[in-house]
């Protein structure tokens, strides 16, 4: 939950950027943006931009970290120094350490890691512009990058945020909404079986409000899912 403000965030049913409560920002997805990576993608939700690169599966060093029964998934979420209003110092913060962990857990259920014992799959996410919902934007980029790398997947992982502002349930919070929301919910799921793989929540909500936000998330998630698939198809068409 964010700071308090006197300002109204929803006026005549519209959000300050003109969106309906259940409307996504403009979304762009592009696969194959980093030539050196085994897989990569850039995803933007409005002014939030994330780029993800996947390296691997590759042999894990040092050897004593290898696991004989499975590949290891490593994720790093990182913000570029120029991605935020006040320049961010390089290096991991407590926030980015936590996000790296929940990102890994959000992606892991989608992967057949057991097929690549002794290896590591490295997923690196760089936030180039931060205007709210950075972690879910990063997870979408990572999902596409993994698919682009040819890592076998049960399903794509679709991510977006939901929340409540003033009295209204909304989705896809931008930076200002993130600051002044009553609650926000970073969310990721695999659409095919509707399995939630990322779920966090900050703020104040009743169980019923949470249910209602879930509905919006699953619905809008379907749109993002189609866009992911289209972005992957587009690469092969080119």
């Amino acid at each position: 939950m964010g700071m308090k403000t006197e300002e109204k965030m929803i006026i005549k049913g519209r959000r300050l950027d003109g969106r309906e409560p259940d409307e996504l920002r403009e979304i762009e997805m592009k696969v194959g943006v980093i030539p050196n990576a085994n897989g990569s993608a850039q995803v933007s939700f409005g002014n939030t931009v994330a780029i993800a690169g996947v390296y691997g599966p590759r042999l894990l060093h040092p050897k004593h970290l290898q696991r004989a029964d499975t590949a290891i998934l490593q994720c790093r979420y990182n913000m570029a120094p120029f991605s935020v209003d006040e320049r961010a110092s390089p290096g991991p913060s407590r926030r980015s350490i936590e996000i790296s962990k929940v990102t890994r857990l959000a992606l892991e259920p989608a992967l057949f890691l057991e097929e690549y014992p002794e290896t590591v799959v490295d997923v690196y996410i760089e936030i180039l512009q931060a205007d709210g919902s950075t972690r879910v934007t990063g997870i979408n980029a990572a999902s596409l990058a993994l698919a682009d790398a040819g890592v076998p997947m049960r399903d794509l992982v679709v991510a977006l945020s939901g929340g409540k502002i003033d009295e209204t349930p909304i989705i896809d919070l931008n930076g200002k909404e993130d600051n002044y929301s009553v609650a926000d919910i970073p969310f990721a799921f695999m659409p095919r079986k509707k399995e939630i793989t990322l779920l966090q929540m900050d703020g104040l909500l009743t169980p019923d409000e949470i249910k209602s936000i879930f509905k919006n998330l699953l619905k809008a998630g379907q749109t993002i899912y189609e866009m992911q698939k289209q972005a992957l198809r587009k690469k092969y068409e080119e």
């Binding site: 939950m1 350490i97 857990l105 259920p109 919910i185 939630i196 793989t197 929540m201 104040l204």
Partner: protein
């Protein structure tokens, strides 16, 4: 072998220590047992043992909240607590634990931070909440969060003289508005359990941590574990967490 056995038990709604699926281990909450802290609590949930100490210091407010005190939450997995913990800076799990405890307190609007302003834009109280794991036998989150709110409830603001803190002389209680309680629900196969011990934690598919306020508002959630959950799962887990939070709240 052993994990398989524990798993089989759980699938039959049985637990290795004979508890029901929705039963806490024996819980003991002691407060004010750390003399140097402005507030403290030690919580034992079965063999899990956590101390939380609250320290009050003077600091500068953040630019965008010039009239509010500051909350800082830390968690240390001291190497005494488990053969798997190592010396060194907090790892991923300790960092996550600290942040989850922090969110429960912060998002419930538990501490009345505006009352901790001493001089707008210049000087405020900083409240340090430090969770110290003494023995790790599972469910660190619920135990630590319980110790945190118990410590905050008994915490006092020390006296100030010429901007110097007079330790051991207190002016008033730390102003609290709400008491969040954190309950983690585990899922294994299609069953839900609470308060898993460490061996049980290892066989769980997923967990959902839910922080609940005394007015029934959910104020924080965090999913963990390597498997997904459906929205139906989550909704059931939230309901169960709200229900069990009432038991824990009685211990405060």
């Amino acid at each position: 072998m052993r994990p398989d056995y524990i798993l089989k038990l759980l699938e039959n709604e049985e637990r290795m220590d004979g508890r029901r699926m929705d039963e806490f281990r024996k819980i003991k909450v002691e407060t004010q047992n750390i003399k140097k802290a402005e507030g403290s609590a030690r919580v034992k949930m079965g063999n899990t043992d956590v101390i939380v100490g609250v320290k009050m210091e003077i600091g500068t407010p953040f630019l965008d909240t010039p009239n509010m005190g500051i909350l800082k939450t830390g968690a240390e997995f001291t190497p005494i607590a488990s053969p798997d913990f190592e010396s060194g800076p907090p790892g991923e799990d300790a960092t996550e634990l600290a942040r989850v405890i922090d969110r429960g307190i912060r998002e419930s609007e538990s501490i009345d931070l505006e009352k901790l302003c001493l001089n707008e834009g210049e000087k405020v109280w900083k409240v340090f909440v430090d969770a110290y794991i003494i023995n790790h036998d599972g469910n660190l989150t619920d135990a630590s969060a319980l110790a945190a709110i118990a410590a905050l409830k008994v915490a006092k603001i020390p006296k100030l003289e010429d901007d110097k803190i007079i330790r051991d002389v207190f002016e008033k209680d730390l102003p609290l508005l709400h008491t969040p309680i954190t309950v983690t629900i585990g899922k294994v196969a299609d069953k839900f359990i609470i308060d898993p011990n460490r061996e049980e934690e290892e066989v769980l598919d997923a967990k959902l941590t839910v922080a609940v306020r005394e007015d029934g508002m959910v104020c924080a959630m965090q999913k963990s574990g390597s498997h997904g959950l459906t929205t139906e799962d989550v909704e059931k887990m939230i309901d169960l967490a709200i229900k069990k939070s009432k038991e824990l709240r009685k211990l405060l």
